[in-house]
């Protein structure tokens, strides 16, 4: 688990935050990373049936593209992630969310590979999303932005990959919602993906996961400051609702065992129960802290769009309900990774993809990593996980003829 247990009084702080713009919002409007612009001649065709234009995609790259452009790895971020996979976030000042995996000599070795990570469409860190300005109105899109899907995100990434002059990606890698994008890549552009590494993910979002997302969305929308999605026009932000959404979601990223190990029933800065509704327990304080820091870096409407994209995801639905059909004839080398204590994307969800790949006679490896750290484990240092990534990527590199 990340973050320290905070002792800040959350109520006063959150009141202040609801009246100020976030550091994240500045990045949404003026990203400090490279940005690819696509004008009216290059619209993004959305599943909602609308051509979105113009659009922009904020991205980062690490390492060097080789002469025959065969060493590119696309890294896909999760629900509230961003394109700062291996570099310091300008919003939080923290190292990249996968800095332990991506870098020189690391499992995704930037001395060997050219790593691309872009902010998804619908996000709020520089790619076109609900916080971006609609050129027709001069105001943020808000809810006038069409609903974005995982295939839409992947279509936009393909436009970026085209722009970078890359035909075939050596690998597409990502966890959680990033893993959904990886799977979608292998279905939408099978010939453009040599190796795929979907981690802690599934080929569809389960009813339980949709349920948790709906709680989060309702929390955002129940906040009076949300203003039907037009909070920007009123100089407000629905930070209370968004913080509650994050608190709920955060619990789903952990595990009962990890919560017990880390917090148990320990009290926060007190000897005995307070007989009131302040944060008596450490776990309460921890969650409040998680909720509060989240609202600094994330746009509430974008959270609605991101969760919706995951909810709509169901690869088999486009193939008469048969997941195996989606992967038929695939020449991509797959490696799936699940974590034993992940109840958001349990091993069985990952295994269902493996079985479909087996049925399609595709090349697939599958590892379940034993850990009590829940879904979040894909962002943490797990030696067996790192060894699996390293082994799979290295062997794929040999098969691809990428010399050391």
């Amino acid at each position: 688990m990340k973050g320290e247990v905070s002792t800040v009084r959350p109520t006063a702080d959150i009141e202040r935050k609801s009246r100020t713009t976030s550091a994240g919002n500045r990045e949404a409007l003026e990203p400090s990373s490279p940005v690819a612009y696509f004008g009216p001649d290059e619209p993004l065709r959305l599943d909602a049936g609308i051509d979105l234009s113009p659009i922009q995609i904020a991205y980062n790259t690490y390492g060097e593209l080789n002469a025959d452009r065969s060493n590119a790895i696309l890294v896909c971020h999760a629900l509230t992630g961003d394109h700062y996979a291996a570099s310091q976030s300008p919003v939080t000042g923290k190292p990249g969310w996968w800095s332990s995996i991506i870098g020189p000599g690391k499992p995704i070795d930037t001395d060997r590979y050219f790593v691309i990570c872009s902010n998804v469409i619908g996000g709020c860190l520089g790619s076109t999303g609900p916080a971006s300005i609609d050129p027709e109105t001069g105001e943020p899109y808000g809810l006038t932005l069409p609903v974005i899907t995982i295939p839409d995100m992947v279509r936009a990434q393909a436009m970026l990959v085209d722009r970078l002059g890359i035909d075939t990606l050596f690998a597409v890698i990502g966890g959680s919602m990033g893993g959904m994008q990886v799977l979608q890549w292998t279905v939408s552009y099978p010939e453009r993906v040599f190796a795929a590494l979907p981690i802690a993910t599934g080929a569809r979002h389960s009813a339980q996961n949709i349920a948790f997302h709906e709680i989060g969305r309702q929390a955002v929308m129940a906040d009076p400051d949300w203003q039907a999605g037009r909070y920007f026009a009123h100089g407000k932000r629905p930070v209370k609702g968004l913080a509650v959404a994050r608190m709920t979601a955060h619990v789903t990223y952990l595990s009962e065992m990890a919560l017990h190990r880390k917090f148990g029933r320990n009290l926060q800065d007190r000897e005995r129960l307070g007989f009131g509704f302040e944060a008596d327990f450490q776990i309460e304080s921890y969650l409040r802290h998680q909720g509060m820091t989240f609202v600094d870096r994330f746009d509430a409407n974008s959270y609605l769009y991101m969760t919706r994209a995951m909810d709509y995801f169901d690869i088999a639905a486009d193939f008469d309900g048969s997941l195996a059909k989606a992967f038929q004839g695939s020449k991509t080398r797959f490696c799936l990774v699940s974590f034993s204590s992940d109840w958001l994307f349990p091993t069985e969800e990952n295994r269902a993809v493996v079985h479909a790949l087996n049925a399609a006679a595709a090349s697939v490896s599958f590892v379940e990593i034993e850990t009590d750290r829940g879904h979040d484990a894909f962002l943490l240092e797990e030696p067996n996980f790192f060894a699996a990534i390293d082994g799979f990527v290295s062997s794929a590199a040999r098969a691809r003829g990428l010399s050391r």
Binding site: R333, C335, R351, V354, H355, A356, N358, A359, A361, S363, V364, S365, F366, V367, E368, I369, E370, N384, A387, A388, D390, G391, F392, S394, S395, A396, R398
Partner: protein
């Protein structure tokens, strides 16, 4: 499923003490299997252990190899060495593969640890054009001696587990295996017995001789 007659705990299969090793240090039944596989074919190895056989088949026979292994430690090791292996169970997971998906499906030192050997063997014959099965022969004279004369369950150099802790729940003799193959309508294309010194036994010996002196057997079956 456990992988060898010898190493009961889930994990790497290729222990040198399972079956007499060869000069190369590779388990002798794996060497025999590697010789039986045509180059550049598609192979599914069930019970991959640490990937010794798959690695051998890839380097020597240039196969397109896949594996299934039940233990996490084994799968991790396989994937870390770049082999296409999934975590799975022969009793449960073969149903997901289509007919004729592979040229060979290999079950080495594993059938005796499956819950339903008959179903597993018929799945092998459905998924692969050929099935290669190696197993410890429970008809070997040392085992008969233990059971027949000493009156106790055999614990031998090859079968080191006591009856109460063995993962090997469905032992068979060479004769029993031939009968099962017949019951499933499979043709025995090749049969090889390996004696206690790790040597292939003469092809001209009668079945009863193999059944008595063969410590290991390797069969190639065809539908």
């Amino acid at each position: 499923m456990t992988l060898t007659a010898d190493t009961g705990a889930p994990g790497p299969t290729a222990t040198s003490d399972t079956v007499a090793g060869t000069a190369t240090g590779i388990r002798v039944d794996l060497e025999v299997i590697a010789d039986l596989v045509e180059p550049n074919t598609r192979v599914l190895d069930i019970g991959s252990g640490d990937g010794a056989l798959l690695a051998l088949l890839q380097s020597r026979r240039h196969v397109d190899g896949r594996g299934i292994e039940i233990s996490q430690a084994g799968v991790n090791e396989c994937v870390a060495r770049g082999l296409s292996v999934i975590q799975g169970d022969a009793d449960r997971d073969l149903v997901h593969y289509p007919d004729d998906a592979f040229d060979y499906v290999i079950l080495s030192q594993t059938i005796q640890a499956t819950h339903n050997p008959k179903v597993v063997l018929s799945e092998l014959l459905r998924i692969g054009r050929r099935a290669i099965v190696s197993f410890p022969n429970f008809g070997h004279w040392t085992i008969r001696y233990s059971l027949g004369l000493r009156g106790s369950m055999p614990v031998t150099r090859n079968l080191t587990h006591a009856w109460y802790e063995t993962p090997n729940i469905h032992f068979c003799t060479i004769r029993d295996f031939v009968a099962l193959a017949g019951e499933l309508g499979a043709t025995v294309e090749t049969a090889i017995a390996i004696n206690s010194t790790g040597q292939k036994m003469g092809m001209n010996m009668p079945w009863w001789f193999w059944n008595l002196f063969g410590e290991q057997a390797v069969f190639v079956l065809k539908r």
